[in-house]
């Protein structure tokens, strides 16, 4: 996953426009769906449902932001699942002594984990998937060991009440998440760092050549990813007054789906914070719609899976080549000619 081909350059402007506007179109559809579908079932969506969706968004959206950033830079971070499990446990355990000690220790630990992952990936140039997978397994193990394989409850309920207090459609939790998203957006949009991040994801070798501090960008992104996910987990744990022993794979499922729906490509170099926020919000609204309709939970996995597979089609690098090869008299030849070779740098 180092140097990669630039697919966006080969794509026609029209399809590119479709892709960049996809997250927002989807978001609009989800909003409309939340308010229209329940009417058929004799129910009515209100501002409370938007508030509720934003609650979900504030927890898993931050994970999506983390995973999305690593995808933009051309890597992948399974470690988010690990910090999402372990950091809330630390925050709850130490939070019993002092709230800020717990929060600080949890986020500090996440930063250290992110730094280690980023340093290994950047300096040693190891593929990020197996490394972060190892981190995930180790962190999950640490979480189970600390919590004695059981969920741990948090006695300070006031924190949760304060975080969940409703302000129109927002809560303290969703406002914190919103601020984090805004910060990442500002950095990505208005500073050199944002340009560097996309450059590193687009063509790492060229970025190195022109003097981008590739290693620092990678380490920074992994730290941001881990801290964002940890924050999402900690906020959720404080809100529910419980740190789970094993949150499972759902946070990653949600995060990857949200990032992909938000226009992030696993090829790297494409996407941004606003898109990821929109993707995550679309999914959150969808979940809220299901709970409003009292739909069985399997339906939401089913739709998440279908959305992911559809998004895969949209994001697939060889889709157009394959389509052309289907219509051409010499299928094999066209597919070969149009597939831009990926340098075998492993």
């Amino acid at each position: 996953m180092s140097a990669r081909d630039d697919t966006s350059a080969r794509r026609t402007p029209a399809s590119r426009r479709v892709r960049t506007s996809m997250p927002y179109v989807l978001l609009a559809i989800m909003f409309a769906a939340l308010f229209i579908f329940p009417l058929f079932a004799g129910r009515r969506a209100s501002a409370f449902n938007v508030y509720d969706a934003l609650q979900l968004w504030s927890a898993y959206g931050l994970v999506a932001l983390g995973v999305g950033l690593t995808m933009i830079v051309g890597e992948f971070d399974f470690g988010v699942l690990g910090v999402f499990a372990l950091c809330p446990m630390i925050a709850v355990k130490l939070g019993e002594i002092n709230l800020f000690l717990g929060l600080g220790a949890a986020l500090g630990l996440a930063a250290v984990v992110g730094f280690l992952e980023g340093a290994i990936v950047a300096k040693l140039r190891v593929h990020s998937m197996p490394v972060t997978l190892g981190f995930y397994i180790a962190l999950l193990g640490a979480n189970l060991a600390i919590g004695n394989s059981q969920s741990v409850s948090f006695s300070n309920l006031n924190v949760g009440f304060a975080l969940d207090a409703r302000l129109a459609i927002f809560s303290g939790r969703s406002i914190i998440a919103l601020i984090v998203f805004a910060l990442v957006f500002v950095v990505m949009r208005f500073t050199r760092v944002g340009r560097d991040i996309r450059a590193v994801g687009g063509d790492r070798r060229a970025s190195r050549m022109v003097g981008v501090a590739v290693d620092r960008v990678l380490i920074g992104v992994f730290i941001t990813s881990a801290v964002c996910s940890a924050l999402g987990g900690v906020l959720l744990a404080y809100s529910f007054a419980t740190a789970l022993s094993n949150p499972g794979l759902y946070p990653l499922q949600f995060a990857v789906t949200a990032a992909i729906l938000g226009g992030v490509s696993l090829v790297g170099g494409v996407g941004g914070a606003v898109g990821i926020a929109a993707g995550a919000l679309s999914l959150s609204l969808l979940q809220e719609l299901f709970s409003l309709l009292a739909a069985p939970t399997y339906l939401s996995s089913l739709i998440t899976g279908v959305l992911l597979v559809i998004a895969t089609f949209v994001a697939a690098p060889n889709l157009s080549a394959w389509w052309r090869s289907l219509r051409s008299p010499r299928p094999g030849a066209v597919a070969v000619a149009s597939a831009v070779p990926e340098p075998a740098s492993k």
Binding site: F135, G305, A344
Partner: protein
């Protein structure tokens, strides 16, 4: 170095060329420490050096091992790994249990076919349109969870007199599943080393553009690699169903990451083209041995998982460094 060369003589060549560089020394040092740790632990841990315990290690390695040897083909072919191994294991176990009323043979056949097909479809997506295997398999996992949640709420138990006791039978002191594991591993390892299919998979994983240019049926090969993995997952599903009295989606457990960990600890390259099925067997046995040892000294589940993660990380980093040094001396 060509794909075929590195595939067949990979470990030997690595040993010869890389002997002098620090990364390779680190690998050997780590292997030595690991081996010493296991040997030391073997003598220090009460109850480790018993026939019963070795049987327990093999038994606990069997299910994960069966899933892992199949998935090794996905990794060797350059399509990383599947994130829904555990889910499909549970799905096939449920399907097998559900189909038992029409006979064991029919149920097994349908289950193996289903597992193969579920994975082949994902492989086709990856091979034909270049879809990312991680995303495809996460999506496929969610769909399978959804479908099972829709069709079968809750546990499924075998019908009375189903005749599946033989799946959990012990032969010469070892469970049936151990023989299946070792048999599958042997067949797949030979297949990867000596058949055209295997060598083409190695080439595809080593260098996809070259495989394209050489006119290899890339889409077909990827689909086939996934299909084999799906078959193995279904085999594991059937055996697990034979072991358990009731099955549900919780069967998935930690099989996904356990199997991937076994492949990685075995030392196959995550980007493909280098490694072997035999290595995965060793990886599965190493993990099972260490887990067993930790279990015997009374370490918690969390501690066992923590150590597993640590070993995966260290092995991946060290082997990567050793391979990198070999490529650019």
């Amino acid at each position: 170095m060509t794909g075929v060369d590195s595939a067949t003589n990979g470990s030997a060549a690595a040993g010869r060329v890389a002997q002098l560089n620090p990364a390779a020394i680190a690998v050997y040092a780590f292997v030595a420490i690991l081996a010493a740790g296991i040997v030391f632990g073997a003598f220090m841990t009460p109850g480790f050096l018993t026939i019963n315990n070795f049987s327990a290690i093999l038994t606990s390695a069997a299910f994960v091992g069966i899933i892992a040897v199949g998935s090794t083909l996905i990794m060797l072919s350059g399509s990383l790994f599947s994130i829904s191994l555990g889910t499909t294991t549970a799905v096939t176990a449920i399907l097998f249990m559900f189909m038992l009323h029409s006979g064991v043979a029919a149920a097994a056949a349908v289950t193996l076919l289903a597992g193969t097909a579920i994975f082949a479809i994902q492989g086709a997506l990856v091979g034909l349109i270049g879809a990312n295997p991680i995303i495809v398999t996460i999506g496929a996992g969610a769909i399978q969870e959804g479908v099972i949640g829709w069709l079968s709420p809750g546990d499924i138990t075998p019908p009375p007199g189903a005749g599946i006791d033989f799946l959990a039978r012990t032969i010469f002191g070892l469970p049936f599943s151990v023989y299946v594991f070792l048999g599958l591993a042997l067949v797949l390892d030979l297949c990867m080393r000596h058949t055209r299919f295997g060598l083409e998979l190695y080439l595809l994983g080593e260098n996809q553009p070259a495989a394209h240019a050489a006119g290899l049926p890339v889409a077909l090969l990827t689909t086939a690699a996934f299909a084999v993995a799906g078959f193995c997952v279904a085999v594991a599903g059937v055996l697990i169903a034979g072991f358990a009295q009731n099955v549900n989606l919780q069967v998935a457990g930690t099989y996904t990451f356990d199997a991937i960990a076994a492949i990685l600890v075995g030392g196959s390259a995550v980007t493909g083209g280098w490694g072997s099925v035999g290595r995965t067997v060793i990886g599965a046995l190493i993990i099972a041995t260490i887990t067993d040892m930790l279990l015997l000294v009374g370490a918690s589940t969390g501690m066992q998982i923590f150590v597993k993660g640590l070993i995966v990380t260290v092995v991946v980093v060290l082997l990567h460094l050793a391979r990198r040094e070999r490529r650019s001396p």
